[in-house]
Structure formats: C-alpha cells, structure tokens
C-alpha cells in the first residue's frame, strides 16, 4: 500500500555480567469493542454508571439465561481485522474458558480459542527515527470482559460491580516480533491509533478500555534470527507474561525490569519459570501471581449455548468497502498532496480528529504547509496551554483558521498580524475576515503610504541616518520604526526595500 521504505530498528541490547542479551516480546492487547450494548446481552456498555445497573440476567450468570450475540460486535471485530490487513474467518466459534472468580458470575468466560474470527495480519510500527518494525498479528478473537472487584471499600470484604461483565473485548495477539520496550509501547500506540480511526475501540487506557498482557523472554544475540528463519521457539528463552498493563509508561518499565530479572536468574545459573507476573509500579518490580497457578487449567470446551458464527463474504466485502482511510495511507497522502514533512504528517495524523481538522484548514486556506504550521505551532500550542484541550474543544473552528491561512497567503495580513487575529478569534469567538475588516488590519502594500512613513522617520532622525549610512546593519531600526508607525500593517518586504533605497544602502 505504501511506497515508503523503512529499515528495521536494531533490537534492544542489555549488557549482562557475562555477555549481551536481547529481548523478545509478544503482546496480547485487550481492546473494548465500541458498541452500545454488550457482546451477548442488551445491557449498556456505558462507563461510570451506578454499580450493577448495566447488568442483564445473562451478564449476572442467572440460571437458564442464554447468550444472544450482538452483530455490531462481530462487525467491529471484522473491521479491526481488515484494518490490520488480516485474514477474516467466515467460520468462527465460541468456547468456554472455565475459572472461578467473584467478578465472573458465569464461572466461565465466553471466548474463541479454537476458531477465532480474525486470523493473521500485520502492523507497521514506526519508531520516529526513520525505522519501523513490521509486527505480525497472529489472531484476533472476541470474548467477554469480566466485572470489577474493589478491594479498598471494606477491611474484610471485596465489592463487585458487574457493569463491565459481558462487554465485548477484542483480544489482539501479536507474534513475538517486538524487540524492545519502546517498540512495545509504539505497537500499542499504533493499534490504538488504527482502532480509533476505525471507530472500533475508543482506546481509553485510563478507563481500562485498552490494556495489554506482555510476554517477555531473553535470548543471546543471533538466536532470534534462528527463530525467525525456522519459526522454532526452542531458539528463544522461556517467557513470562506480565498481566493487565494499562499505561504505555508502565509497559516499557515492566519489560525492562522483567528482562533484567531474567538475565540475573540465567547468569546465576538458574532457569526462568514460565508463569504469570504482575508489575508493581511503586516498587518497579514484577512478581509472581502464584494464587492464579491452579486456575491455569481452564478446561476449554465449545460453548453449547452458541452455534458457530458463520458470516458471509459479501457482508465482509461491504464492511471493507466502507473502511475509512487508515493512518499510514493518510500520512502518505498528506506528504504527497500537501507537501508536508514526514514529522508534521505524523503529528497531524496521530489522531483522526486532528487530521480532519488540519485537512479542512489546508483545503479552505489553500496552503498545506502554512496550514500545518498554524495547526501544529499556534493552535496545538494554544490548546495545550489552555487546559490541555482537545481539537474538538477548540474555540476556533477549522473554517476560521482556514480564513487566517487564506488571509496570509493572499498577503492581506502579515504573519505577525495574523497572530493577533488568531488571538482575537480564539478568545472572542469572531470571524478572522471580519476582525481584519472591522479592526482595519489589512497589510499596507501601497508603496505611496509606506514611502510617506519612511520619509517621515528619516526626516525626524538625522543622527540615526548618519549612523545607518556608516553601518548598514542599523537600517533594521528604521524598518522597526516604520512597522510601529503603521501598526504593524506595512508589508515587511516593501518596507525593507524602501528603507534601503532611501538611505542609499
């Protein structure tokens, strides 16, 4: 799809006491599917409701209740799969993963172990330094989320809220293609970006709508290449899984500290035990979740309450035909059609709402590069200072910023005056064209008027004229005076030329 060529980044190397070690990382990303209702019930998925109010009897695991699949969840999983250039399985099926926990009232999670809805895909993860990692996706399956346990409301009891129970999740499983902590965070960020473009997951990590389990192992330099050549896992070290990370920063820190733990064990002559671990950000360490060991026997079997999920190719094709433009394609188009730099195009396409805003400004203003400067430097900077506002909260709509760009491009106002106009438009909810007209801010390009101003300044400052004639650098003083006397409205290029001519420089 893209013509852009990237080199693969170098793997992260950690120096051990004896020799160097490399990291091998695979992720399982859990993304909450953006739908109104849950995967198998008609209860709402809305975050922050009264406890146990978004709960149907199906979600509460009441006897005799049967799950009925929400077709929109299936469509969202297919859409996500298509966005990751993945194979869509027209036949998939649901299985029960059995375990006991208070926030799982059914006693099992409905998931898709044997026949996931989405098969192999890939994601290009750019790393900002001109390198990019192509990460293979192994599968995406649909499953139910669990409820929420709160442990700090009572000294002896845990409180359980089932509002999240049964909300649809997509579990996106990567191959062990990620080679460092930064790459892992960039991978999650890229998935988040793609899903936000697709509208399949809001990506809100704080609310837990996007979280990741991270598999980490270490190997000697050269071993990973053997694995890639043969796909034989015996070339890699034993992995540990760090569960439930919901911050990019913690993902990076946890990988680093886990890798160092494994290096220390092996260099001491020990062996890494395959297990599930938790990251503790306060102590910056991972520790074993021993209590879950027994629960690892999930006794999966096909869910007898649900027939296999069979979808039609025409339905998939219809979803494919209506996919929005994805980040990589949008970025390439911004570079090609607006002449943006790679960096500016990345910044502007990071979020789909920002990209749409920029495109309106660029098209309305008639100048892509100028529009990029104004959106990135002036608007983003201002929004950040103004309580870290998002683009949708911008007091200046795209059409108005486009007017400012158009006014600069037509040389109706100078870049300097434009900043004043921007400030007025931002704070007073006014139209830039109207501000320029009402406040008389049009740039003076009429050389007669500028000439008069230049003559006046020269006549009033004979001493400065002598100095400037001796030292031409001082001509800048006259330019400044003229700009001042014209309220900044004089065309700077015209003033420069006239001052130089009048002083005979």
């Amino acid at each position: 799809m893209l013509d852009l060529e990237y080199a693969a980044p170098a793997p992260k190397v950690i120096a051990g006491a004896k020799h160097d070690w490399e990291l091998v990382i695979g992720l399982e990303v859990h993304a909450q599917v953006a739908t109104k209702a849950k995967l198998f019930s008609g209860a709402s998925t809305l975050f922050g409701a009264e406890p146990n109010s978004n709960v149907a009897f199906v979600d509460a695991g009441m006897p005799g209740m049967l799950p009925v699949i929400n077709e929109a969840c299936v469509a969202q999983a297919v859409r996500t799969g298509l966005g990751l250039k993945a194979e869509i399985n027209l036949f998939s099926a649901f299985d029960r993963k059995n375990y006991f926990y208070p926030d799982l009232p059914q006693g099992y999670q409905i998931s898709q172990l044997y026949h996931p809805i989405v098969g192999e895909g890939e994601v290009l993860v750019e790393l900002g330094d001109g390198t990019a990692r192509l990460v293979r996706i192994e599968r995406i399956h649909l499953e139910q989320d669990a409820g929420k346990s709160i442990h700090d409301m009572d000294p002896t009891m845990s409180f359980v809220d089932l509002n999240r129970t049964g909300v649809a999740l997509m579990e996106i499983v990567s191959r062990p293609d990620i080679r460092g902590p930064e790459e892992a965070a960039a991978f999650v960020a890229k998935l988040r970006q793609i899903m936000r473009y697709l509208g399949t997951c809001d990506g809100n990590m704080q609310n837990g709508n996007l979280r990741a389990d991270v598999n980490v192992s270490i190997c000697r330099p050269g071993d990973y290449e053997k694995y890639q050549a043969t796909q034989d896992f015996s070339h890699l070290g034993t992995r540990c899984e760090i569960k439930n990370m919901n911050s990019m920063r913690f993902i990076q820190a946890a990988i680093e500290v886990e890798a160092r733990r494994q290096i220390a064990i092996i260099e001491d002559g020990g062996a890494v035990v395959q297990e599930t671990r938790l990251y503790d950000p306060d102590k910056n360490e991972t520790r074993s979740m021993r209590s879950k060991e027994e629960a690892h026997d999930y006794r999966y079997f096909p869910d007898p309450d649900l027939l296999p999920l069979e979808i039609e190719q025409a339905w998939v094709d219809d979803i494919a035909a209506n996919l929005p433009e994805l980040p990589d394609a949008k970025k390439a188009r911004f570079i090609a059609s607006f002449g943006l730099s790679d960096y500016d195009a990345s910044v502007l396409t990071a979020d789909v709402a920002n990209a749409a805003y920029f495109e309106d400004v660029a098209k309305g203003g008639g100048d892509g590069k100028l529009a990029a400067n104004w959106v990135i430097n002036e608007l983003f900077g201002r929004l950040k200072k103004d309580g870290d506002k998002g683009i949708t909260e911008s007091p200046i709509p795209a059409a108005r910023l486009a007017q400012i760009v158009a006014l600069i491009k037509a040389e109706t106002i100078s870049g300097k005056i434009a900043k004043d106009v921007f400030d007025i438009a931002y704070t007073q909810d006014r139209d830039p064209e109207e501000i320029v007209k009402t406040d008389g801010l049009e740039q003076v390009t009429d050389t007669g008027a500028i000439e008069a101003a230049v003559d006046e300044i020269i006549a009033a400052n004979p001493a400065q004229v002598e100095k400037a004639k001796a030292n031409p650098k001082l001509a800048g003083w006259f330019v400044g005076q003229v700009m001042k006397s014209t309220g900044g409205k004089a065309n700077p290029a015209a003033v420069n030329a006239l001052v130089a001519a009048k002083l005979g420089l």
């Binding site: 739908t35 109104k36 209702a37 019930s41 008609g42 209860a43 709402s44 009264e50 406890p51 146990n52 109010s53 978004n54 709960v55 149907a56 009897f57 199906v58 509460a60 009925v68 699949i69 929400n70 077709e71 929109a72 969840c73 299936v74 099926a93 059995n98 006991f100 926990y101 208070p102 346990s149 709160i150 442990h151 409301m153 009572d154 000294p155 002896t156 009891m157 845990s158 409180f159 359980v160 809220d161 089932l162 938790l278 979740m289 209590s291 879950k292 027994e294 026997d297 006794r299 096909p302 649900l306 027939l307 296999p308 999920l309 069979e310």
Partner: protein
C-alpha cells in the same frame, strides 16, 4: 485412559465441588469409564466428515446493537448473600 483418585480430587477442586476422600475412588472410576467410552468413539473413522455443531440447521441468531436491558440493580442483587451500596459483597479476594 485411567483417571486416578488424585486427578479426580483435582477436577472436583477446579469445579468447586466438595467430594469426600472416601467418594473419590468411585468418582475416578466413573471418569475412567466415560473416557473409555470416548476412546471407543475415537476408533470410528471420521476422515473427511464435517463435525456436526448442532442438531438443528440454524444460523446463529443475532441481536441488534440496542440497549434493551439493565437498570435493575435490586433484581440483580436480590439473591446475593450480601450486598452493600449497590455492590455484591464477597469475602476479600486480593492478589
């Protein structure tokens, strides 16, 4: 495949069903008999036969993405042995 009493004990524990030690040998024997029957079934040659997933030729029924349920906190909590402030209250479980 023969199931011993230790495996029977483990299966009972995973299912959270209390089985007295004295009852385990009989349970293990029943499991063994069931698995033995399945092993017998495994002898049937099913090459090239699609697995049957349902006895009714039906398509999985789908619901539309509309909120039609919920807002019944009292009913959801009605059978709970202990509920407080809208939550189920259970003996403390902390990792």
């Amino acid at each position: 495949m023969a199931i011993d009493t230790d495996t029977a004990r483990r299966v009972a524990k995973l299912a959270r069903i209390k089985v007295e030690d004295a009852a385990l040998p009989a349970l293990a024997q029943e499991f063994s008999a069931i698995l033995g029957f399945i092993e017998q079934l495994n002898e049937v040659d099913v090459d090239g036969i699609e697995p049957m997933t349902s006895v009714t030729p039906q398509r999985l029924y789908r619901r539309e993405d509309v909120v039609t349920d919920g807002n019944q906190q009292a009913a959801v909590l009605a059978n709970a042995p202990d509920a407080r402030e809208g939550f189920f209250a259970v003996p403390k479980v902390v990792e």
